[in-house]
């Protein structure tokens, strides 16, 4: 069974699928350069939700251009490419600094891909700061807090698919979730 080791760590002994492996390979490079937190649909999938996704949303703290170029070069050397451009300068100045996400995939593929963006407000920064470590058979994955994830899906996104993801997480983690925290985030996001 998946197990909370403490408030910020979950042990997940599941059989990993190719989407999980893709994420693990990507974050193995990413975390050499920066903290991060995965948000949105993949969180539910990681814990067993019965649907697929072609992209994985990831937040990183804003970094300077030199730092980003080092990260980008490392990703390229590790077999990844950016769908939006091959030019790190363009990606940094015309996309990330403009609060636009970039997509990264294994070289010469488009699916699955990581949708990477800089944290752009207090909510995003809190997501990274309060991230949860998920220990899998082949490495660790950091996700945003579950309460935030549920609140964001129910209030900001609100599609059928998002409501189902939120319902799945609520049911799966019932007994472990801080319901007051969810309601607090929902009020904040409703403003």
């Amino acid at each position: 069974m998946l197990k909370f080791i403490n408030k910020k760590t979950i042990r997940l002994g599941k059989e990993l699928n190719n989407l999980d492996i893709f994420v693990l390979d990507f974050v193995a490079v990413l975390e050499r350069h920066t903290d991060y937190a995965i948000v949105s649909g993949y969180t539910a999938l990681l814990f067993g939700r019965s649907r697929a996704t072609e992209d994985v949303d990831m937040l990183v703290p804003e970094m300077d251009e030199k730092h980003f170029k080092n990260l980008f070069n490392d990703l390229e050397d590790s077999g990844f490419w950016c769908l939006n451009s091959d030019n790190a300068n363009v990606l940094y100045n015309d996309y990330l600094k403009q609060k636009t996400a970039i997509r990264l995939a294994r070289k010469n593929k488009v699916i699955p891909n990581i949708e990477l963006k800089f944290a752009k407000n207090d909510f995003d920064c809190n997501t990274i700061r309060e991230r949860i470590k998920v220990i899998t058979r082949k490495g660790d994955i950091f996700i945003g807090p579950l309460e935030e994830e549920i609140a964001f899906k129910e209030i900001v996104l609100g599609s059928e698919k998002d409501m189902e993801d939120a319902g799945f997480l609520r049911n799966l983690f019932k007994g472990s979730l801080d319901k007051k925290r969810i309601e607090g985030f929902k009020k904040l996001l409703s403003k």
Partner: protein, 64 residues
Amino acid sequence: MIFDKEKNQKERMWFVDYWAEFVRTSPEEVWSGQQKEFINAVLKNARQSTRQEYLKLKGEKFSI
């Protein structure tokens, strides 16, 4: 043909709850083996377009 959206949503949520309960109460090998088969099949059968085509579909830009 009349499509009952509310009924459809209820049925979908029933399955979401059913599956969540199954994941919560079953050994990890059991549910994750099924998920792995499904997700790997979806990814295997996904059409790998060019990155320009993909971004156009998403309404996002490609830059040289």
